[in-house]
Symmetry: C2
Subunit: 190 residues, 2 copies
């Protein structure tokens, strides 16, 4: 998606530790008009007629997924980080390692809202090592639901998470794959 690549180049900031900040439009301040066009780009690569639920992870995936859900008329659900007492029993759980928080995090999702045989499209804003997505795939599998695809706005290709999903045969698409990120220089995979 060329508009996305242009915004990454023009507005992205590369910080030490391979952190690429796109927080002016993607995951802090959200440019919702632009995110609508991101939703359109996802709609071109996935067959939405097969999808009956969008799934993402708290917190940074929620905005883009809500915008997609709203545009497409498909409900969404998000896995929470297990800390709240507002979710009682009947949970799918998945342990992932959060590189952002530098610790193991438990993703939880109510069994009430994800059922066997549902057709799921996973969406997220960023793909780095792929731990969050691995957890979501695990939850889909626990539910006996059908994973129709995985859509990522920005993949950090050099961290390997996306390639592991491609190699494993998932219907995986990222709208921009960053191959190299240094201050002042961002290179995309062709």
């Amino acid at each position: 998606m060329q508009e996305l690549k242009d915004r990454i180049v023009n507005e992205g900031k590369v910080l030490p530790g391979n952190i690429i900040k796109l927080d002016g439009f993607l995951n802090h301040r959200i440019d919702c008009d632009f995110m609508g066009r991101v939703a359109d780009a996802f709609a071109e690569v996935f067959d939405l007629s097969k999808v009956d639920m969008l799934l993402t992870a708290e917190a940074s995936g929620i905005a883009i997924t809500a915008i997609c859900a709203s545009k497409w008329g498909i409900p969404m659900i998000y896995a929470k980080k297990a800390k709240s007492d507002n979710i009682e029993g009947g949970l799918y759980q998945s342990e992932i390692y959060s590189y952002t928080y530098k610790k193991t995090v438990t993703q939880i999702l109510s069994k009430e809202w994800l059922r066997e045989g549902q057709h799921i499209l996973i969406l997220d804003d960023f793909m780095a090592n792929g731990e969050a997505i691995r957890g979501l795939c695990d939850i889909v599998s626990q539910a006996g639901a059908v994973l129709e695809g995985i859509g990522i706005v920005v993949e950090k290709g050099f961290q390997g998470g996306g390639d592991r999903l491609r190699d494993a045969g998932y219907n995986y698409h990222a709208l921009a794959v960053i191959e190299k990120a240094e201050p002042g220089h961002i290179e995309f995979r062709e």
Copy 2:
């Protein structure tokens, strides 16, 4: 908003500790078609022509705010919980007490994306004690931005947060105010 009240009565679950779960449509699984109508209801009570940024708090306010932002063509921003190392200096910070997590949480928001003189509408899914909203108001004030209003989908009226904002003269609106919640019986404020 009658449709909202009907869904609260029909789908809400009251748990010990004054917890009202609406996680089938509001803040775990999100019914985005319905949330579009919630956005329309907010548009009737606030003058959106005065608003140039929507503000909410991570995580459960993000979905409804993103749907409003997308429908209204207004950018949004959300305050994060301070734990990630992905936000460097230049932050507004506000300390709030989280009754959900039973501890003090620091809300952070990049100074880059909220500026003096911007006109802000705060949105959130739930109002209980009002700590999250108090923190957001504090951040708006730190920025020298103009608070145009506060919109809440569901207020737990018996916990006092909404009344404190009304008494303080804020342009505050909740689409449903629950006055009493017991298992099997939910009563709204007229």
